[in-house]
């Protein structure tokens, strides 16, 4: 396995009773790559994300993160894995309504070993680069949908994960806001040397990714590179990281 590969799923199968959700899927995510998983409802794309992210155990097959097998870990081990090596952005409802935005972002750090002061300081440093300056003390109910998703992106990245999983991250947003959110998500993950896996049924969202894989009836159809230029959007990437000076060195040092 090449060190270029960050996450690798091999022969993933998963059934729910008589329903086959995954019928043997192989998928490799490379370092710094943004991959869109597309497919109609019920095709198994969400199950694929759940198996790759350690949310579910596949019935058979293997999942490797940076060369280490992770699907055999117990519930607790997978929890720690999700908290430390992965980041998550969901459609909505992932922010705790009673916490201000900065504390929502700081939460994963506080769950680790960070002191509260350090976690909040670190969390706040993400607000400026993500266009959220001044929103630190606002609570999720006082943010717009797009702002809330950017807070969610900050929370996904604050632990400097290897892979960010996004499940319909723009599903609750209008098109323009969805575009902005996707651009920030892709740029921010790339800038932090993380890979991105997006589950979506929206071709516009998929258009932001380097590669699109399609899932149909539990099987992968294609692994084609994106039709357009490899990644037009990342070319314009400005520093979407609190440590603009040398984010790569820091992220790579994990």
């Amino acid at each position: 396995m090449s060190s270029h590969n960050v996450l690798e799923g091999r022969g993933l199968k998963k059934s729910f009773g008589p329903t086959v959700a995954l019928a043997g899927v192989d998928l490799t995510i490379h370092r710094g790559e943004a991959v869109a998983i597309m497919g109609p409802s019920g095709s198994g794309k969400s199950t694929l994300l759940h198996c790759l992210a350690g949310i579910m155990k596949p019935d058979s097959g293997e999942v490797h993160l940076l060369g280490q097998r992770v699907d055999t870990l117990g519930e607790r081990g997978r929890s720690v894995l999700r908290r430390t090596r992965f980041g998550f952005v969901f459609q909505f409802g992932q922010l705790l309504p009673e916490l201000p935005a900065d504390e929502n972002v700081a939460l994963p750090l506080m769950l680790g070993d960070h002191s509260r002061a350090r976690a909040v300081r670190e969390a706040r440093s993400w607000f400026g680069p993500l266009g959220l300056a001044g929103m630190e003390g606002r609570r999720p109910g006082e943010l717009s949908g797009g702002q809330a998703q950017r807070v969610a992106i900050a929370r996904a990245l604050v632990t400097r994960p290897a892979v960010v999983f996004a499940d319909e991250p723009t599903g609750a947003l209008d098109q323009a806001t969805g575009h902005d959110t996707m651009r920030l998500l892709v740029e921010a993950t790339k800038h932090n040397d993380a890979s991105l896996v997006v589950v979506t049924h929206d071709p516009h969202v998929a258009g932001w990714c380097d590669r699109v894989v399609e899932v149909r009836d539990g099987l992968m159809l294609t692994g084609r590179p994106h039709a357009a230029s490899p990644s037009p959007h990342t070319a314009s990437a400005h520093a979407v990281s609190p440590h603009a000076v040398s984010p790569h060195a820091e992220a790579g040092g994990r």
């Binding site: 999700r82 909505f92 509260r116």
Partner: protein
């Protein structure tokens, strides 16, 4: 209107398993409230019933023509009180007292069943005439085991001229009466007043709890109702639908509560007050009061639901947009201070009505101050928080102090009761040997106190359990997503526990102190160790119960958080 009702019914039934769970929580909450409310009402009727059945033994001097002479004598046989009523008829045809079909003539006696059963004891042989002329029925007895004899005399007998009556409390000297209607005895009056005070103590936490039950329904429906509002339902339609749903649920709960009460009443009749247990009928206040409770409960729940709905009705977006709540103002505290300032002016001789009013005032002020203090406690917790659990708990307290207050209010108010009676509870050494009724009264205050405490703790514990479960249901999506993102459930669990324990510790202690201050002017008998121990046991049991009830929702948290693909519903 009919369409609206049909839609409400469909929404209620089609809520799915979690919707059903939420509805059952409301039903359970309302059922327990109703059971306890019926009990609180029944207590008053029960004592009034006793007072009425006892009245004929409190002779009222005739204003006009006297038609009979009545004297009442009481003494102890093997530690049990025997009441002997001596009667002599002056004008034939006078109606007999309740429980008797006819008055015993000279040389005859009528006995209560319990007395007839022990009439052969050596102490009693020869005390009464041999000719038994009838039975003193239930209508003339305070309690089923009461020992009562009615002895007939000629008007000229010495006992009928006022001599020879013993000095025991229930006694009355020979009195020329026009009839046997009598009057409420002072003891019966005292018991009725104490029952009224006990009812206040039980009803106030019940109202808080009932309000929580109603808001439970509304909280679950918030999102759905806001969507209905967004698609164009008028405020009126939304109100009708929510209130209809709350009232339907509450009525089901109220009926279940009646059934629960029926199941609980047989053991309750065995509680001994004033020397004896109760007739089964004593605990059934009659059709009208029961119907009133069964109607009032759904009505109150409906009103509470409307209050909870204001936000939605004002703006369709009001619910979706959660804003930082305005800080609770200090004004709330001044109400409590005013009530506390009034208490010392009462003194020992204050009338029962005034005492009840001031206690009620102090209680309601505590209820106003509660959320303010919870918010304060929350801010301190947030400032001091180091780990994620305490930070979450503190933010939750600041975010919705009223909800946290509803969880702890039962124990906080019970703490007030416990502080109040903890000092008042009379020590047994004070019971007067020569005055059996006075010693009963002292013992009964303790029994009554225990019952009120048990009721309050039941409310507190059930309310804590239900509030914890509903808060899990309300946040199920966020909890599930947090778990997906790797948040350990223990952190969420610890946060939930702290969220109850922190205000409970602060406010439980605070209200016990408040209760103790309120009791000071009344506590002439001094602090009793029994009272202090009772207090301690109750505090410990209350904490354990509330924490345990909160822990019961842990499986629920686990089940909602392990939903692999949470979707908003």
């Amino acid at each position: 209107m009919r369409n609206l009702m049909a839609l409400t019914w469909r929404l209620l039934r089609g809520g799915g398993r979690r919707g059903l769970l939420g509805s059952s929580l409301t039903v359970a909450a309302v059922a327990v409230s109703t059971t306890l409310l019926i009990f609180a009402v029944a207590v008053n009727f029960a004592f009034a019933g006793r007072a009425g059945r006892e009245a004929w033994r409190s002779p009222v001097p005739a204003g006009g023509t006297a038609r009979a002479i009545e004297a009442v004598q009481a003494d102890l046989v093997r530690g049990r009180l025997v009441t002997v009523v001596h009667v002599a008829v002056l004008v034939p045809g006078i109606a007999p007292p309740p429980g008797l079909t006819r008055l015993p003539g000279p040389g005859e006696v009528a006995m209560s069943p319990a007395l007839a059963a022990i009439a052969n004891l050596p102490e009693l042989v020869g005390r009464f005439p041999r000719t038994v002329a009838g039975t003193v029925g239930d209508a003339g007895l305070i309690h089923p085991g009461e020992l009562v004899a009615v002895v007939g005399h000629a008007p000229a007998d010495p006992v009928m001229s006022g001599r020879g009556t013993a000095g025991h409390r229930p006694g009355a000297p020979a009195t020329r009466v026009a009839g046997f209607e009598g009057a409420t005895t002072p003891d019966a009056g005292a018991y009725s007043a104490l029952a009224a005070v006990a009812s206040v103590f039980m009803v106030v936490p019940l109202l808080v709890f009932g309000g929580a039950a109603a808001r439970l329904t509304v909280a679950r429906r918030d999102r759905r109702l806001a969507s209905l509002r967004l698609v164009g339902a008028t405020p009126g339609q939304v109100v009708v639908m929510t209130v209809a749903e709350a009232v339907i649920t509450a009525f089901g709960g109220a009926v279940l509560g009646l059934v629960l009460y029926a199941a609980a009443s047989p053991p309750l009749t065995r509680v001994e007050i004033a020397g004896g247990p109760w007739f089964v009928a004593d605990l059934w206040p009659g059709v009208l009061p029961l119907a009133a409770v069964l109607l009032a409960v759904p009505l109150l729940v409906g009103v509470s639901a409307v209050a909870g709905l204001r936000r939605i009705v004002v703006s369709p977006l009001g619910v979706a947009k959660r804003e930082t709540p305005p800080a609770m103002r200090f004004v709330r505290v001044t109400g409590l201070l005013v009530a506390l300032a009034l208490v010392p002016t009462l003194g020992f001789g204050a009338r029962v009505g005034v005492v009840v009013a001031v206690l009620g005032l102090a209680f309601l002020s505590l209820n106003l101050v509660g959320p303010w203090v919870v918010a304060l406690v929350g801010r301190v917790t947030v400032r001091a928080a180091r780990g994620p659990a305490s930070l979450l708990a503190g933010r939750r307290l600041v975010d919705d102090p009223r909800s946290a207050w509803r969880t702890v209010s039962g124990v906080a108010l019970t703490g007030f009761v416990a502080g109040f009676v903890g000092l008042l509870a009379p020590s047994s050494s004070l019971s007067a040997q020569d005055d059996v009724v006075a010693s009963w009264l002292l013992r009964d205050i303790r029994t009554g106190t225990l019952i009120v405490l048990v009721v309050s703790f039941l409310v507190a514990i059930v309310s804590a359990g239900i509030t914890a479960a509903s808060s899990v249901l309300d946040r199920r999506q966020t909890y599930a997503l947090l778990r997906l993102a790797g948040t350990p459930l223990e952190v969420l669990d610890r946060a939930r526990r702290l969220e109850t324990l922190v205000p409970l510790t602060v406010m439980g202690g605070g209200s016990i102190l408040t209760g103790a201050i309120c009791a000071t002017p009344f506590a002439k008998v001094g602090v009793s160790s029994t009272g202090a121990i009772t207090l301690l046991v109750c505090v410990v049991a209350g904490f354990a119960g509330v924490v345990g009830a909160g822990a019961l929702s842990r499986p629920l948290l686990r089940s909602v958080a392990t939903d692999p693909a949470p979707r908003p519903d």
